[in-house]
C-alpha cells in the first residue's frame, strides 16, 4: 500500500525500479509497468530534442493524488511513478508507471488508469526542437477521450 513518486532530471533504470517494487514482496503476484519514451517524430515533425517543463510542487502533488485514487479503486500493493523533466533525446525514457497487486487485472487496470490521468492532469509540458523549428506540443484530444473508460 505504499506510494513512491519521483520527478527528476536524470534517467531511471527500469530494472532498478522493478526491483524496488518487488523486493521482499511475496504477497503481490502481479506487476504491471508502463514506460513512455521519446519518439523520433511526432505528427510528422522529426524531433531532435525535447524539453520537459513542469510546475514544481504541484507535479508531485498531482502524481500522489493519481496514485492514491488508484489505490482506493483497486487492491494494490506498491505503486511507483517516475517522471523526468528537462532536456531529453529521442529514445530517452520519460515516464515510469508501476503497480503491484495480488491479481493481474488490478495491476494492469491501475497502470493504465494512472498513465491516462497523468497525461491529462499532471502539469508537464513538452517542447519539441525539430528540423522545422521549435514548438510546444499540443494536447491530444485522444487523451481526454481515454478518461471516459474510467
Amino acid at each position: 500500500m505504499s506510494i513512491s513518486i519521483s520527478v527528476q532530471a536524470g534517467t531511471f533504470d527500469v530494472g532498478v525500479e522493478y526491483a524496488g517494487l518487488r523486493e521482499g514482496n511475496v504477497a503481490d503476484g502481479a506487476t504491471a509497468i508502463f514506460v513512455g519514451s521519446v519518439r523520433d517524430f511526432n505528427l510528422d515533425q522529426s524531433v531532435a530534442q525535447l524539453e520537459l517543463e513542469h510546475y514544481p510542487g504541484m507535479t508531485e502533488k498531482v502524481l500522489e493524488d493519481i496514485a492514491g485514487r488508484a489505490q482506493q479503486r483497486w487492491q494494490l500493493g506498491r505503486v511507483r511513478l517516475v517522471h523526468r523533466v528537462g532536456p531529453l533525446l529521442p529514445g530517452d525514457d520519460i515516464v515510469f508507471v508501476g503497480a503491484c497487486a495480488p491479481h493481474r487485472q488490478a495491476a494492469l487496470d491501475a497502470c493504465a488508469y494512472m498513465i491516462d490521468f497523468l497525461k491529462t492532469e499532471a502539469p508537464f509540458w513538452k517542447k519539441e526542437y525539430g528540423r522545422d523549428g521549435v514548438r510546444w506540443v499540443d494536447a491530444r484530444e485522444g487523451d481526454r477521450e481515454a478518461l471516459k473508460k474510467w
Binding site: E53, Y55, V62, L118, A122, W125, A139
Partner: protein
C-alpha cells in the same frame, strides 16, 4: 498578495513567469484572470484563450474558485506530459 505563475507556451507569450497582485476581497479565479487581461492586448488575448487551465494552491481549479490572500495561482496550457 496573490502569487500568480505562468507556464510553458503561456509564459512565453506573456514573457512573464510570475507576478504578484494584491488580494481583492471576494475575487474569483475568473475575476483575477480578467484583471490580469487588462494589462495589455497580449495579456488580454493570451488569457482569453479558453484552453488555458488554472490551478489554485497547486490543485486544478475552476473559474468560480475564490482566491484569498497568500494563495498561489497558476495559468497554463493543457498539459502534455507522459
Amino acid at each position: 498578495m496573490i502569487r500568480v505563475l505562468f507556464f510553458a507556451g503561456l509564459r512565453e507569450q506573456l514573457g512573464c513567469a510570475d507576478v504578484s497582485v494584491p488580494a481583492g476581497s471576494g475575487t474569483t479565479l475568473a475575476g483575477l484572470r480578467a484583471q490580469l487581461g487588462e494589462r495589455d492586448a497580449t495579456w488580454q488575448r493570451a488569457l482569453a484563450d479558453e484552453n488555458v487551465q488554472m490551478a489554485l494552491n497547486r490543485q486544478m481549479a475552476k473559474s468560480d474558485s475564490i482566491v484569498r490572500d497568500g494563495d498561489e495561482v497558476a495559468f497554463f496550457p493543457p498539459v502534455t506530459g507522459g
